[in-house]
Amino acid sequence: MTESLPVTPGLHRFNGGIRFVHREDASTHEPIASLPLPRVLVLPLQQHIGEAAIPCVKVGERVLKGQLLAEPKGYIGAPIHAPTSGTVIEIADRPIAHPSGLTAPCITLEVDGEDRWTEHRPIDSYRELDRSSLRNRIRDAGIVGLGGAGFPSAVKLNPGPSRKIHTLLVNAAECEPYINCDDMLIRERATDIVAGIEIALHCIDAPRCIIGIEDSMPAAHAALQQAITQTAATNIDIVVVPTVYPTGGEKQLIKVITGQEVPKDGLPADIGIVCHNVGTLYAIARAILHGEPLISRIVTVTGKGVSKPRNLEVLIGTPIRELIEFCGGYTERVSRLLLGGHMMGFALHSDDLPVVKAANCILAGTPEELPEPGKAGPCIRCGMCEQACPVNLLPQQLYWYTKAKDFDKTREYNLFDCIECGCCAYVCPSEIPLVQYYRYAKTEIRNAERERQKSNIARERFEFRKERLEREEREKAEKLRQRKEALAQKTADDDGKKAAIQAALERVKAKKATQEEKQD
């Protein structure tokens, strides 16, 4: 047990959550280590929320470290850069870390080992830069939320003119037990994080910043405090929050610190708050002050299934296998490999998958740590799930309606507000895999919605075609009618001419007859 910090008084709390028994993680014993250059890097084109990036390099092209490999498509998107120098050897579908085990388009880079940088473009005095160009620099650096969601950071730093931001909230609370990449980052690189905070404050024009840190992170707290004192910033405060899972959730942290709730379907910016993870702020500082795009991140490699748990600084695209090997390989008792923690992570099908921007933890677990799920018993309606839900949902109702496939009802019960934190399933005495049900229902609903849109398009096209065929038919009929009329007209005209000739002939005849009569 480590000693914990005194919690800042006057805080609020969210419903439920889980207070795990705090234990010191073995992965924090050693400092962050940099992984040696891997032989090959695999960079998925979609590592963020939004549309996949579009490659702007060709197979066979030599690239330098930090060079742009893929450009963002659309406003919500992020570019991808070369994590080291090398040659692009493939742009094709490769397996990625996803619960489905499916493949996705990736750029594969063969590392040349020189690690040669492209030209850096650091900004010395960012305060003189206008906000929009500063945001564009952050966007061009490919920075996305490193807390796990992977939302493009530049979009978050642009709340729009209608929303006045009063607070930048820095999320220094770890996502869940096992994960401590943020803790280690703060301990070792607090100065850069504070620099990142100042850049973000300038970007959103906010007067103050609150850092929310958990009471189980005294070393990180001390490092931050020191960094703040060094910069002599007066508008950055540290708030110590109790370590209750899932305080690391954005909306939960806002609730704990301000007592306010983010409106349904709304953003923190709607209540004047912009929230960023410490890892993201560190990346912002590197991008602006050093001109380095986001090409690496800190990953916690932990669990009893790995020999030497540790935090590693890893190039994006490094195969997970190499992280495990660096940490001394698997132990005998390893049973499962998770991306993320044991609450929200998902099991990987293989360890030959690349690390992506949002990957914060690799958990190699033993059967004791990650027990095989027991056979789910029947729901006994105890209501413990509802007491544990940090979003105030009714997990039991959602479960029943999902089981009955009554998806309209699940929507009525705010299924899409579920953050899939797993608290309900964790406390369920019947061991019902509740989150599984919600994930199932969510994808079913999204799929039905997509099908509906597709069928609407098909209907439109079908009706348009029908109309076009009818129009063509009408036009054809019209043409035919016109031709017939023209023909009739012509015949009529011909008849008229014939009649005139006849009449003329007759007149001549008559004339001749009268002349002959006269001669006679």
Binding site: R321, F346, S350, P373, Q436, R439, Y440, E451, R461
Partner: protein
């Protein structure tokens, strides 16, 4: 006695006029039931229901000329939705109309295509691109998988292929099914199984 009869008659006449006026004034254009049924149909326009398209089938259902179990692409889900809408009992798909299968997309073998345009004329949603004596191709995103283009092709160069699963269309399986347990291959020769969560 007469006063009562007259009063009732007058009232009946007044309300009759009112109803008559309302019927004209608030007349509903089209048939909303047909629209509702049409909205539930998959819009494949395949004609397997024996009607020339989804809307005609919807009209036939509304008019009582067709049953609700004649749409193979919609399958169970559509039958259930139609049953709920119309307050009828759901019944299994009529095997005369076909069987429910995976979503398909038409693919033209472009090396074999002779550019006859017969498939273009058969496609109910204009999802085939091409011109006379030019190669044709299917716009995969617009193809409904109705198979109507397969029959007219004189050189048999159109095949129906299943639509592959992508990250966007992938769905979490219903819990407690054995296939949600992925087997992971970890280096060092361990081969163990694991599940999500």
């Amino acid at each position: 006695m007469f006063a009562a009869i007259i009063a009732i008659t007058l009232l009946a006449a007044a309300f009759g006029l009112l109803l008559g006026y309302a019927a004209v004034r608030f007349k509903v254009e089209g048939d909303p039931v047909v629209d509702q049924i049409d909205a539930l149909l998959p819009q494949t326009q395949c004609g397997q229901c024996t009607f020339p398209g989804c809307r005609p089938y919807a009209e036939a259902i509304a008019a009582g000329k067709a049953d609700i179990n004649q749409c193979p692409p919609g399958g169970e889900a559509t039958i259930q939705a139609l049953a709920d809408l119309l307050g009828r009992e759901a019944k299994p798909l009529n095997p005369d109309n076909g069987t429910e299968g995976d979503k398909m997309v038409a693919v033209i073998d472009e090396n074999v295509c002779i550019g006859c345009t017969l498939c273009i004329r058969a496609c109910p949603v204009d999802a085939i691109l091409g011109a006379t004596k030019q190669m044709h191709t299917v716009i995969a995103d617009e193809c409904t998988g109705c198979k109507l283009c397969v029959e007219p092709c004189p050189v048999d160069c159109i095949s129906m292929e299943p639509v592959g699963e992508t990250l966007e269309t992938w769905r979490w399986p219903f819990p407690n099914k054995p296939e949600i347990i992925p087997h992971i291959q970890v280096t060092g020769g361990h081969h163990k199984s694991g599940t999500y969560d």
